[in-house]
Structure formats: structure tokens, C-alpha cells
């Protein structure tokens, strides 16, 4: 597919589009491919999945500024709203499709605003319960963990720590 056709089709698409750039020789792409295909089946009619072989579309790759595969690009109304490089766990991909199908924009971690709201609300309620009933510090701790789980992807300390961990455990 040349880039002109790609962007024309993208602008005409009434649904959110997840573009998966893959290659037959890429191991992580093979891991993600069946998960994406299953999700595309599950969310058929609500979210579209376009799988593009990177080897056959070098011009498009240059146009999209793709520097690594697998890369997932999310488009809504023809505009890129998110880009994910590297294989992501199935739960995160499922959350991404679910968020898009509900008409929401996904955050970098694939968490919707509603998801954050529910986690934050549950955490605050548990912490408040622990505080007011003076029953146990465990409630405050669990509440705190739930609150953190709603914003962890925005926390710079968490990001720095996980990046460091990835570098240590990554391929040499």
C-alpha cells in the first residue's frame, strides 16, 4: 500500500483504526499477531485492524517515521492519537481495543479515563474507610495501592525505575 492510498483510506474510515506494522522475520510481531487478530474479531465493526508488512511498504514506513517493529499506531478520524513500539501484553492490547470501542482516547498505558476514575474512587473510598473506622492500616495501604495503580503511568519516579529495570534485563 502506498502512503497516498493509506492516508486516503484512513481519512475515509468511520471507525478507529489500529495499524500494526510487522515483518515475517520479527519474533515479537509473531507473538502479538494472533492476539491482535483475535481482538479485531472480537471488536469487529467497532475498531479496525490494519496489518501492514513492513518489508513490502518501505515508503510508507519512511512516511510514518517507523524506527522499530512491531509498532502499533492508533488513528481516530484520520489523526494519530497514540503509538506503541514493541510487543505489549494481551491485557494491555485488550484495554486499548476496549477503550477505542467505547469512543474514548487511550492513555499511553492503555488506561481510559473511566478506568482511572474507578480505580481512584475505589482507592479513596477504601482509604477513607480505613481512616474513619480506624480499623486497620491495611485498608489505607490497599487504598493507596489502588490510587497509585490509577496514575502509575504518569509517575516520573515509576517510569525512571521501570526504564532502568528494562535496561538491566533487556537484551545485551
Amino acid at each position: 500500500m502506498d502512503s497516498q492510498t493509506f492516508f486516503k483510506k484512513l481519512n475515509e474510515s468511520p471507525r478507529p483504526v489500529v495499524v500494526d506494522l510487522w515483518a515475517p522475520w520479527c519474533g515479537p510481531c509473531k507473538t502479538v499477531k494472533p492476539i491482535l487478530e483475535k481482538l479485531a474479531q472480537e471488536y469487529r465493526g467497532r475498531v479496525d485492524l490494519w496489518q501492514i508488512n513492513a518489508d513490502d511498504n518501505l515508503e510508507l514506513l519512511r512516511e510514518l517515521k517507523i524506527y522499530g517493529i512491531p509498532t502499533l499506531i492508533v488513528y481516530r478520524n484520520g489523526k494519530e492519537t497514540q503509538r506503541q513500539v514493541g510487543a505489549k501484553p494481551g491485557s494491555r492490547l485488550q484495554r486499548l481495543f476496549e477503550t477505542l470501542a467505547n469512543g474514548e482516547d487511550p492513555s499511553p498505558a492503555g488506561m481510559s479515563i473511566m478506568d482511572r476514575f474507578i480505580r481512584m474512587g475505589a482507592g479513596l473510598a477504601l482509604a477513607a474507610l480505613g481512616w474513619t473506622t480506624q480499623s486497620s492500616w491495611a485498608w489505607l495501604l490497599i487504598g493507596g495501592l489502588l490510587i497509585f495503580s490509577s496514575i502509575y503511568d504518569r509517575c516520573p519516579i515509576w517510569r525512571a525505575l521501570t526504564n532502568r529495570f528494562k535496561r538491566i534485563n533487556g537484551p545485551a
Partner: protein
């Protein structure tokens, strides 16, 4: 862990869970009943917060829109 709860399901779980925990810890209920309310309440809050119910998964159920 694949999500299998809709947003409405999650909100109801969290609200019901908090209510049960309040009954258990707020000295409204006593004895075994209080312990039971706490246990069920905590499970409801946690499953609601993460959006995944192991029981649903076991029976291949889901409240997510298809």
C-alpha cells in the same frame, strides 16, 4: 489478565463492596456476619477496581459489550 467487566459492573461492585466493608468494620454487623461482609466486600472492591472477575473467567462470562 483480560478484563471481563463493563464500567457499570465495576462501579456497582466498588459501591457494593465499600458498603459491605462499612457494615463489617463500622460495627454495624458483628461476629461471623461481619467477617463475611468484610471478605465479600474486599473481593468486590478489588475485582471492581481491576476490572477482572476470576469467577466470570471460570464460566467464560463477561459483561463487556460485544
Amino acid at each position: 489478565m483480560k478484563m471481563n467487566e463493563s464500567n457499570a459492573d465495576r462501579i456497582i461492585r466498588v459501591a457494593a463492596g465499600i458498603a459491605l466493608l462499612y457494615l463489617g468494620f463500622g460495627s454495624v454487623l458483628r461476629g461471623t456476619l461481619a467477617g463475611l461482609a468484610d471478605a465479600v466486600g474486599l473481593v468486590l472492591v478489588l475485582t471492581g477496581a481491576i476490572g477482572f472477575c476470576p469467577l466470570y473467567a471460570m464460566f467464560r462470562l463477561s459483561t463487556l459489550k460485544k
